[in-house]
Subunit: 384 residues, 2 copies
Amino acid sequence: MSSEQGSVGIVETQYYTFAEPPCQLELECGRKLGPITLAYETYGKLNAGKSNAILVIHALTGDAHAAGRHSPSDRKPGWWDKMIGPGKAFDTDRYFVICSNSVGGCQGSTGPSSINPETGRPYGLEFPMVTIGDMVNAQKALIDHLGIEQLACVVGGSMGGMQVLQWATTYPDKMRLFIPIASTARLSPQAIAFDAVGRHAIMADPNWNKGNYYGANSPSSGLSIARMVGHITYLSDTSMHTKFGRDLKDKVTPDYDFVTEFQVESYLNYQGDEFVKRFDANSYLYLSKAMDYFDLSQPEGELRKGLSAVQAAALVISFSSDWLFPSYMSKEIVSALRRNNVDVSYAEIQSDYGHDAFLLEFDTLSRLITNFLEYAGPRNSDER
Amino acid sequence: MSSEQGSVGIVETQYYTFAEPPCQLELECGRKLGPITLAYETYGKLNAGKSNAILVIHALTGDAHAAGRHSPSDRKPGWWDKMIGPGKAFDTDRYFVICSNSVGGCQGSTGPSSINPETGRPYGLEFPMVTIGDMVNAQKALIDHLGIEQLACVVGGSMGGMQVLQWATTYPDKMRLFIPIASTARLSPQAIAFDAVGRHAIMADPNWNKGNYYGANSPSSGLSIARMVGHITYLSDTSMHTKFGRDLKDKVTPDYDFVTEFQVESYLNYQGDEFVKRFDANSYLYLSKAMDYFDLSQPEGELRKGLSAVQAAALVISFSSDWLFPSYMSKEIVSALRRNNVDVSYAEIQSDYGHDAFLLEFDTLSRLITNFLEYAGPRNSDER
């Protein structure tokens, strides 16, 4: 089946639709949403006991395509292909790995660009605000649909890590292990500020038109700026020095104009241009706002209390140069879990890659995660 | 004369025009500019020996109005009023303090919003690219005009600090002391990236119209986004936690919409809205680009060589939480100057205010600077 060593091979995105009216999903904002479609992929085989399932949750702009290729000619495999496959950290010879696109997104799951069945037009801003909790509740419906009573592990980075923490809190007995990577129980005001600027740029784009741009020109200029801001926060000062320095693009002496000139400017422009081809601006608004709202220390303002329901064993991972989700945020989670007597391991990986390290530091991540899956929790013996 | 204790009182902005054709200023980009007007203010009295002049240089969006008030009803004094006045660090009972608005700016000095005498219309993008070196050369003309052979000190923060370093390099015998604060000999690629996003936002605003917006709607939306991005980089993660935390504005529970909601969002919006009332978008393009180009390690790529002409004694100051112009950049300058046997003192001020600390940490700054002016350099005795 596999054409590459360690690859899950050719995979297909699947779709699950649920919450059909009148049984819509009740959202945290008080509104209801349905029907909901989730795009998802699976790799490996669910065992007879249905005890070997691992849920992988993607970051802000990720999708369900975590591993393998959709066709042999695909230029790139899924976004976490180096982590998922035969013999890899999430070993598909042992585990049944599931990755679903978040509700509110734009890559196969129901979101603001989907058709609102009540109007026959795309939702736009009529789409209700979805929270990290709502995303997790939707995933739970998918896991139920797959007949899985308890997940072996829930894992994800960045916004995916937020969902991992929410899973462990809302559904404490539905997993044995959980791994939040480069994540936080609540964004810093600095991170909220960057998100706010991104949203501001989108909403300031005349093409945005209060979210009603489907079928017309999309606010690609604003979305591109949001992505550029985001990208700066995903890298570190050190990695930018290494990657670009102060080099000019294709020249040594400056042209003294406002055309893109430094390598780093060119990189950001490219990232912005590529992003608008694959992402919906309204989804960016909804998902970034969901991240901003997320705060597991609420309602009492104390993280230990917010995490009091957690039962599963945890491996918390952060990266030394990540200044968007700095290590101190992971340490807060570890400290709160330990005071609650949760079995928690913590690793701060030394890396210059900044927040993006969760998509790059495969060797260290693989070693840590392989060991954790192997040795953590007494109920791992039935996974083979 | 002074209505407030320690204040320079009521002051007036003055204007000096020079570089009239055919004697235009030759710019680093190879083009010529003239006539050039510089807006400037002075505080205190020039002594008979003309040896007590201190040049204060403002940051990116600052102006010539550094101290005092323009009228008794002015709500706020000049931007460094706590540093300049009778008995203050820059003691106007002893020193003659000069602050001029940079060429390329929009607050009284010649810049892209000025009338191009060749066309009778505002320059817009016909304005030539000005560098930090050009700004210093223009200031030098003003200092010559004032009849000052040698400055007692040149001081400034951020972009002002860059100009201070340029002064010490280009006109090494024209000052006895210099004080670059929260500055750098070259921006990091991360800082260039933030500048590039700001420029991108301005140029993406349909009102920008390739710089030809004078007399029409200005690109205030794009400029506001540039300012918001800038503001995040001027604060620190810690100061944002202290100032805003994750608080919502005027409420406890969220509204689940995209209206400004977090305190930090509201603050950024306000900063953006206020800024566009007082600043020209094209000037923002030119000045931020000048900062990006600035690199005293060029042409040889070695900072020690770039600073080899420096003679005056230096006090270099950085702030512990400044991540836009981090302390390591000031330390590079100090290290290069020491290897060149320049008399240099260095202080890293512990502060949570981030880059903005140079506009806030007055007590520590005053103590350091007062001591430095008092004791550094053998030729200080004739300043009274």
